[in-house]
Symmetry: C2
Subunit: 344 residues, 2 copies
């Protein structure tokens, strides 16, 4: 999942309006992970390399402002949205760290040398430390509601990962299962970030608030669109450097939308040839990537995938009609549009 | 850490008095992990093999009764101690599952075959699912206090694991660092379980309650004694089957109390020979285990270790003077004594 949801250049402007809030999120984040034990601090320094562009805290802050209909994005004075921003980033980073834990099969295939960083065990414990710290921080808020939202989203994320692992190398993975994985694995936490932002403005005790639900729905749609676009980039990145690098998803035995669409729309002979290529890539032989992608283009599957992502972006934007006007609302629209135009 | 804190035969009687509560804990535990996704349920079935003897839920229930000074241990009607029991067991099981994630170096050394269970990645995600489910369940309580206690204890546990990993193969590990690791890695969660039990009886809003603090202290001391006894068993188990099985701690490059004591009390020549053996075992060569243990016995280090464990048990029991009389208090005393008499 690494690299997913990095904010592209064109969104720097959006982040600049919440820059004060993000700086406070960053401080809370660092403060929470600080330890009186020097070796723990040293090992935590390795977490830095997973640091992304803070998309989730940005969404928390924007949704907080959007729910308030605020005209001034720097006016976050409450601690709750800052804490929720740091928590959502910490949970996300934990998944990135744990994604780096390799299966034995992969370790053998890649023939990695013994890692100076102590490898898998360090990744596991550092990820656990991030998760535990996120929960500790979240529960420092007065209301148990944010902890419920974060706990629920984290558990759903794990079920998405389990479902994906269960379907590894399943070459007949269908579209509904693909979407189920993606909603759980990626969209749940984005939706939670938006909900946390909204409810930290509206009051955590207010249940079933239409604004909070609209923003949560916005986040879920956005998360789905993001992941679909990521699946496209995983393949088209391959196209640009065929032979050098191969789609990581296929390499890991993960079927994504473009492949599922292609296999469903190709004629029997083409499908058979593509299945042979997909299997070979999953086994570490990427020599036929170029011809696979050619065949995928033959069924217009990349276009279909992009169209699917666009439809989720449109759905996300339509949710914003329930949100009061203010300076954050157009930023959320901009952010949604950028999801499908980003190229990295 | 697997196997630590299993309740020995002689404690079955203690558990039998909280059997109704434990059955409810078990139901809540299973219910929380149940998924509407069949593959998730299938993978969760593998968690069963980590299921221990529910020491932590037993402590939650006993401390709940102890804080109430109750004469009837089956009289738990509140949901809070049941939920806290299930949460503490879930967090503990997550650590067992994650302990199974192996470093590349170890995989290579042990030459494990590719695992039908998908190996490391499954362990990581299943452990994460347990942690997330524990937090979700804990936050279902009205008060954010139990989430704070559990979040804090989990984070402290991780720092203990990080400190241990940092000191792997550190042959000059000193006693204070050893105790720091052990307090964090093992005692923190036991202390939290006792505190959760007490505060679920006394009311989570009551801060700095002397009964809750006494029971938390009891749990911390108990946890330390348990882990020290486990370190003894790790070595004496080796003695029984020399050549067949080697102390897991030494194999993983972990120095424990008996070794630290031995190295501190041996003459220079003996220490040098022992250091050579310790290094060899850490590298997978256990041919000299028997002579190492003979030398450890030469410095009376096993006796010293047992005496150290006993002193923590005495300290734990002395904490109980602050606790109202009732049926649970003598059970806690019995449980503390059993820690140092157990042989498995």
């Amino acid at each position: 999942m690494q690299g997913v949801l990095d904010i592209p250049e064109e969104l720097r402007e959006i982040q600049s309006v919440v820059v004060d809030g993000l700086a406070r999120v960053s401080d809370v984040f660092d403060e929470q992970l600080r330890s009186e034990l020097p070796p723990v601090d040293t090992m935590c320094a390795h977490i830095e390399r997973y640091r992304g562009k803070m998309l989730r805290p940005t969404l928390v802050l924007l949704c907080n402002a959007a729910a308030r209909g605020s005209e001034d994005l720097s006016a976050v004075t409450d601690r709750a949205p800052i804490v929720c921003g740091a928590v959502s980033e910490m949970v996300h980073m934990a998944t990135l760290v744990h994604d780096d834990v390799l299966d034995e099969a992969e370790i053998r295939r890649r023939g990695r040398t013994i890692n100076a960083m102590k490898g898998n065990e360090t990744s596991v414990i550092l990820g656990d430390y991030l998760i535990a710290s996120a929960y500790e921080l979240c529960s420092s808020l007065e209301s148990p509601v944010p902890s419920r939202i974060v706990g629920r989203a984290s558990a759903v994320m794990c079920t998405g990962e389990l479902l994906q692992l269960h379907n590894r190398n399943n070459l007949s993975l269908d579209e509904p299962t693909y979407f189920e994985i993606l909603k759980r694995k990626t969209a749940a936490l984005i939706g939670a970030a938006c909900e946390l932002g909204a409810r930290s403005a509206l009051g955590f005790d207010r249940e079933h608030d239409p604004i909070a639900e609209a923003l949560r729905g916005f986040g879920l749609d956005l998360g789905i669109a993001f992941q679909i676009q990521d699946d496209v980039l995983d393949l088209t990145g391959t196209l640009e450097e065929v032979g050098k690098s191969v789609g990581k998803d296929l390499e890991k035995g993960k079927l994504t939308y473009p492949i599922i669409h292609h296999l469903a729309h190709a004629d029997d002979e083409t499908r058979e040839r593509s299945l042979i290529d997909v299997r070979a890539i999953g086994e570490g032989d990427s020599s036929d990537v170029a011809s696979l992608i050619e065949r995928i283009e033959g069924t217009a599957s990349l276009e279909a995938t992009r169209a699917c992502a666009v439809s989720y972006v449109e759905s996300a934007k339509s949710r914003l009609s329930a949100i009061p006007d203010g300076v954050a609302k157009p930023m959320l629209t901009l952010l949604a549009d950028a999801v499908v135009t980003r190229s990295h």
